[in-house]
Amino acid sequence: MASSHATPGARFVDPNVLTRVGNLELLARHVVEGFINGLHRAPFFGASIDFAEHRGYVAGDDIRRVDWRLYARTDRFYVKQYEADTNTNLSILLDISRSMKFASRGIPKLEYGCYVGACLAYLAQRQRDRVGMITFDNDIVTHIPPSAKHFNIVLRTMENAKAERPGNLTVPLKKMAEHFKRRGLIVLISDFYEEPDAILEAIKPLKFLGNDLIVFHVLDPAEIDFGYDDASSFEDLETGEQIPVVPASLATEYREMLQAHIAALTTKFSEHRIDYTVLNTSEPLDRALFSYLSSRERLMRVR
């Protein structure tokens, strides 16, 4: 499949998905620092069409910025200031621990995560944002710094990603936090098989620089429904431990616990202004992304 594309990993940029989400924009909710004009608000005033405020004229200001209408009313010179738009860094943090290779039917969670990351990277790249990527399991596996030219490398990295080792969020995320020198957009894709408090503690450092954090919780339908019939030995992909399980007696409790887990994550992430979305790999990616991006856009307008 990969061979049918010129660029390895290009398959993750699915045209079907893009036709649906292509007209949406992935905008940073917070101000981000960029080098060029873009879609995101910069922390500085600059050239844009969004008026920010007036300030008194000082020597050296361009007289073309003097608001003459205000001079006519107040007989004082004021200069109009506009918010600066900028581009930003999009860092995709992809969990490639062993649990991500699970697939009850359809595609594995890792592949689904790659689709999500690739689409978002494509959107970012299209709006001239810099794209980088970090894959991790219980440590950082690959680190591609954000760059306008790294889109293809990101795709190739996704193509080569193998879920082989058990995962852990704390260690790699702590290391990652040290890499982010500039505020940007961080997309974290994982299945979050850790305690909500531990997850939040691991993620917090990413927020310290004021990064806009988007979290995608990728789950397989089997993980959500626990729709097994036969009593079997279940093997934990992360630890290799086997436990004899009678699904019929566990399913209800399991579903309740999973929903409680998701609810806890939702609460805690929203408390810290982190976008949190649960993705079911059985759902079409376009629908999931469209739903997320459109709601994000809508919330941006409200704000």
């Binding site: 850790e194 030995s233 934990d236 992909l237 436990i243 566990l250 409790e253 399991y254």
Partner: protein, 687 residues
Amino acid sequence: MAFLTPFFLAGLGAIAIPVLIHLIQREKKRVIEFPSLMFVRRIPYQSVRRRRIRHWALLLMRAAAIALIVAAFARPFVQQSAVAAVVGGGAREIVILLDRSASMGYGDHWARAQDAARAVVRSLGAEDRATLVLFDKNAEENMRATSDRTRLEGAITAAKVGSGATRFGPAMKLAESILARSPIKRRSAVLISDFQRSGWTGSEEVRFPEGMTVSTVSVASPNTANLSVPSVAFARASFSGQERLTVTAGLSNKGDQALKDVPVTLTIDGHEIQTEHVTVAAHASGSVSFTQFTLASPNVRGSVRAGTDPMPADNTFHFVLAPSEPVSLIIVDSGDRSASSLFLQKALSIGTTPLFRVDVTSAGRLTPAAFDKRAVVILNDTMFPPAGGGGALKAFLQRGGGLLVVAGDHATWPQSEADLLPGRLGATVDRTSGRSGSLGFLDYSHPVFEVFKAPRSGDFSAAHVFRYRALQTSPADRVLARFDDGAIAAAERTIGGGRSIVWTSTLDDTWTDIGVKPVFLPLVHQLIRHLAHYEPPTSWLTVGQVLDLTARAKGRGDRADRIVVTPSGERIPQSSAGEGNEGLIELSEQGIYEVRSTGAVGRPEAIAVNIDPAESDLTAIDPGELVASVTGHAMPSGAQAVQTQDMTREESEKRQGLWWYLLMAGLLLLAAETVISNQLSRKDTFL
């Protein structure tokens, strides 16, 4: 609990099938990979275990169902205890056969046997009846059928060990007859014994009909140690006109341990004469000989006592000694040949049992007084002695004397005395030409030839007979032997208390060479013993034998009344009339019996009685073997048999019908299991 068809229990192996299926299914279980069992791990493990335990319960249900069905096919039944039987089946007739033979005196056998008998009595229901039979060689109905437990227990307590030998046959026959008479349908016998092998030969024709059962209680000990003195032998020798006697006692060790330095003591007339110490190996025999002593008077009482063990009865052997009495006989020959009686004299000079006191005379010199105090007269190829005429010889025979007529060439017999000779002598038959004659027929049923009955016990055909006298017997005479041509060789006639035998050839080397053949000596001895009514002296009798006092008194001409004192001191008066059973004493005790004649002087007659040597062998048979041969089917033995089995196994099983309940329970269990497993399988196929 027992099973009528226990081989069906092999089907219990089918229980393994659900277990195997369970294991096979477990082997086939899938391993499902799951991203994380974080949540599963949090769910209490008990919920999973509980489910598994419920599955084990299902498995147990299946196994139990199979077991119940298999058990139903094996047709179980409960061996009812006596009390339960009373509740469930009505009155019973029980015969308690209590062995009181001498061997029961071993250790605590008798006490245990009494306890077992009491246990049977206590298990009797209100309507049950029991009969107590004490047996050894004979069986005695000690307590007739009664429901009175107190009397029965009293009879058991009062019973004592006897000295008799063990014989199961009479006891079983008596039990069978008692049970057969009973109107009660549920009948059984309880045999309490040490089950000596010697008590059951297997040829006893005892058969309990269907419906009568036999249960057994064995009190036999597994490892018995028993030393016994089974016999005593006496070697007599003459010294200075007195008879000297050497006692040799045989010892038999039936135990597993060798016995070392066992003291063996010879007691004569109450005085300990000598004590020897011997060693007897395990399961072996030994002997000890004591120093010679002079035997002067009759009725000398002696005993040999050897060691001590749990069965003291057979450690002592009693005997009564008397100086031997030789058989006095006179040989009458023609006197014209010096060696005509040589062969007879030589033959009769050999032997100690009995000793023969032989006098030889010629017919012409014989006087009527010569017949006095003679046991046998031999007319050795001679004419009829004149002294025998006139009824003298006839009187001798009438008194019980014996006459042997050797009919050679010189033998003559007057017509007037023809009734004293078995047959009429005829002419001489000459067999010198051609093939000589030989003895072709012998009446082995006759006491004279009985000892030759066994194969290779005397070759009479080796003797050549060249001449003999023809003899014509009457039907009253008994032909003892014939020659090969059918002519009579010997014939006998009974005259009064005496016996007359004619030998139609000679007993020397003139007409036959039988005198130099090996059979000559025993033949002559047998002829004289028979004619003299010789009975070897018995130094002891065995318990169970019957003593005929009347016959013994007649032999001595004693007509006085007698009193028999048993070893235990019981006095049994006996009149001289000897009517009915009078004069017959059954010897039931071990020891010395005394027979005292009223008015007699001197020592009373003593009779030593010992227990049967077979009682010393405590080897036991399997009680089941005995029961099987009596009832036709084996029954369990042992202590549990005290709980008498009053019904046959088939009857018990049929009556209880447990199989039906077991089968129904098994099927219900299977149905329940099917329902439960179906319900479970909807949720969980992991069964």
